[in-house]
């Protein structure tokens, strides 16, 4: 027996064990496991819902937008500098100008102003909370910051109209009660928590080992933050800023209240001007009969907003991929 090899002493099996000769085992399911299938079905439908809603929105935009463009050429819509959709006879297409540029420039101008406010303050807050604040301070500070994100936008709108505009009026010489700069600044305040909170998450997720490596080489806190933590968190920070941009472009209440209802093709932020969302709010809440030109214009502008947000998201995905620093 002492000469027995590993395969049980059968040299002809070439090192492999011989085939199984006992009774076969039953490996089929011992119960139907219905609960598992139900759970999976519920989860799949939850995931499908958001996709279906998006598809539904695009589909419902399609017919009215097509109708709009049988009356207005794409060139006039995209490059015209005058927008008078709510003027004149409600059911007449030809006595109105359909150039969307004034609405687009107002939207972009207010978005830009809000970013000028929100990016420095948001990133500053994120750097403080992630790198400088003690755990105790962070515990108190961050929820307060996030409450700011939950303030209803109509409150921000009135803040712009009744507080910020009167303050800026004598300083900058704003004529009238509407301007782009005032809602832009307030919108910036509104986005600060979004950018700060998401950027802070991204920076806190940078491994401690990288910070230690930096400190061990004699770097101070600011150098470590700027040269190591910030680049490593950049993809998350870019995503936070893009989310802020999307919110600014889509924001309606603040601009409807504080930017006025006059479509104006201007680069002067001290003047009031209607944005795309501002027009939608005005037309949809006003006297716009179904089938009228301005009714179709609502869908055209809705589609343009959709395309713009989509473009920004695509650009941001590219940016995030480009700057992603795996660690």
């Amino acid at each position: 027996m002492s000469t027995k090899t590993r395969d049980g002493g059968r040299p002809d099996s070439g090192g492999h064990p011989v085939a199984w000769e006992g009774p076969p085992v039953d490996l089929t399911a011992q119960s139907p496991r219905i609960g598992e299938k139900i759970i999976k079905a519920v989860l799949v439908s939850a995931a499908a819902l958001s996709v279906l809603v998006t598809v539904g929105i695009v589909a419902s935009l399609f017919a009215p937008v097509a109708e709009f463009f049988t009356h207005v050429s794409l060139g006039e819509f995209l490059f015209g500098t005058e927008w008078t959709a709510l003027f004149g006879d409600k059911f007449n297409w030809d006595d109105k100008s359909w150039g969307v540029l004034p609405l687009v420039t107002a939207t972009l101008m207010i978005t830009l102003i809000s970013l000028v406010v929100a990016v420095p303050f948001g990133l500053g807050a994120a750097i403080y909370l992630s790198e400088y604040a003690s755990p105790r301070v962070r515990k108190i500070f961050k929820p307060i910051l996030e409450i700011l994100a939950g303030v209803p936008t109509v409150v921000y709108g009135f803040l712009a109209l009744t507080v910020i505009t009167p303050i800026l009026k004598p300083l900058l010489g704003i004529e009238g009660i509407y301007s782009m700069i005032s809602p832009g600044i307030v919108m910036g305040f509104m986005i600060v928590p979004t950018i700060a909170s998401l950027s802070e998450d991204a920076m806190s997720a940078v491994p401690l080992a990288l910070r230690q490596g930096s400190y061990a080489l004699g770097a101070n806190r600011m150098q470590t933050t700027i040269r190591v933590v910030f680049p490593a968190a950049l993809s998350g920070i870019v995503a936070a800023i893009v989310l802020g941009i999307s919110r600014a472009i889509g924001e309606t209440m603040i601009v409807a209240i504080a930017a006025g209802n006059m479509p104006l093709f201007t680069a002067d932020p001290l003047k009031g001007a209607q944005t795309m969302t501002g027009f939608i709010a005005q037309a949809a809440s006003g006297d716009t009969p179904q089938g009228s030109p301005s009714y179709y214009a609502l869908f055209a502008i809705g589609a343009l907003l959709f395309v713009m947000t989509l473009l920004i998201n695509m650009i941001s995905i590219r940016l995030v991929r480009k700057y992603r620093q795996a660690y």
């Binding site: 080992a209 080489l217 004699g218 190591v228």
Partner: protein, 299 residues
């Protein structure tokens, strides 16, 4: 100088060497001078009655030891015995731990690095560190190595030269010279760790601390790092924490054995049990606990 020669260098010779080093290199304020520890070899760094607390918890107590110039000193002991804590005191990395407090003295060339006028950046530039897990920055290989000289404001006339010298010093140059602009994360684990060593020596430190530098590496990469350590010891003073006793025996000239024993209240505090030449610790330890540990009967 070969390793066997290094081992026979007497305490007196080492004293002379570190004295001249202190004359030429140290410009830290000299108001916090610490008297040498009695009986310990006078080295680059001397610990006197070192005691470390994390808030109320006393992690390590009563550590008196000294690290010889251009030697490798290994700190060994079971998990939780405080050896890494002691290592992190040597370049004040414990400053980053909230609640950490250091008592006693850590004297670098006779100057207490926890003294009032001491600039922690100066300390870390002279006493570099390599960590357990390779932690290159998500930057190019070149920028990783150039990081230290840049942030410490070293006056560098030719950064390319500094980077090349550091990479050569870490035995990595030949492997990466054609891809210096590539991200450091493309390197293997062993290469990343050698990059971290290159990064540490780029600031021309005198001492390099290594906290289990091979524990995340395979045996081949480990062997390369060990060879590198022995090579680096001709220029730098190296202090290494390791769980691998064969490693301590292979590379080090001196070994300190730590252990943690519970007191009456059940609090475990790390202590230095025995500190001697590696030959002595592994061949003929004086303390029964050391012998039990190195023969694998405990820990």
């Amino acid at each position: 100088m070969t390793r066997s020669e290094q081992r026979t260098v007497s305490t007196e010779q080492r004293t002379n060497k570190s004295d001249t080093a202190s004359e030429s290199q140290v410009t830290i304020e000299r108001s916090n001078t610490v008297p040498p520890v009695e009986g310990a070899p006078d080295g680059v760094i001397t610990l006197k009655d070192l005691e470390v607390f994390y808030s109320d918890f006393r992690a390590v107590t009563n550590v008196n030891m000294s690290f010889g110039s251009r030697e490798i000193t290994a700190l060994i002991g079971p998990s939780g015995c405080g050896k890494s804590t002691v290592l992190r005191c040597l370049n004040r990395m414990n400053d980053l731990v909230p609640g950490a407090r250091v008592e006693g003295a850590v004297a670098y060339h006779g100057v207490d690095i926890y003294g009032e006028d001491v600039d922690v950046i100066e300390v870390r530039r002279r006493i570099g560190m390599v960590f357990q897990k390779p932690n290159p920055f998500p930057k190019s290989i070149y920028d990783n190595v150039a990081y230290g000289p840049r942030v410490t404001g070293m006056k560098v006339s030719d950064m390319d030269n500094v980077v090349e010298r550091a990479l050569r010093g870490a035995a990595l140059w030949d492997e990466v010279k054609d891809k210096l602009k590539q991200n450091a994360f493309g390197l293997s684990g062993g290469q990343q760790q050698r990059l971290c060593i290159a990064r540490a020596i780029a600031t021309s430190p005198e001492v390099i601390l290594m906290d289990e530098p091979c524990s995340a590496l395979d045996p081949i990469a480990t062997a390369k790092i060990e060879d590198l350590m022995v090579e680096l010891a001709s220029t730098y003073t190296i202090i290494i924490v390791t769980h691998n006793m064969q490693q301590a025996a292979r590379v080090s000239q001196r070994t300190g054995f730590f252990t943690a024993e519970a007191d009456d209240k059940g609090q475990r505090t790390g202590r230095l049990v025995e500190f001697d030449t590696t030959e002595h610790i592994f061949g003929n330890p004086s303390d029964a606990r050391t012998e039990a540990y190195i023969t694998g009967r405990f820990g």
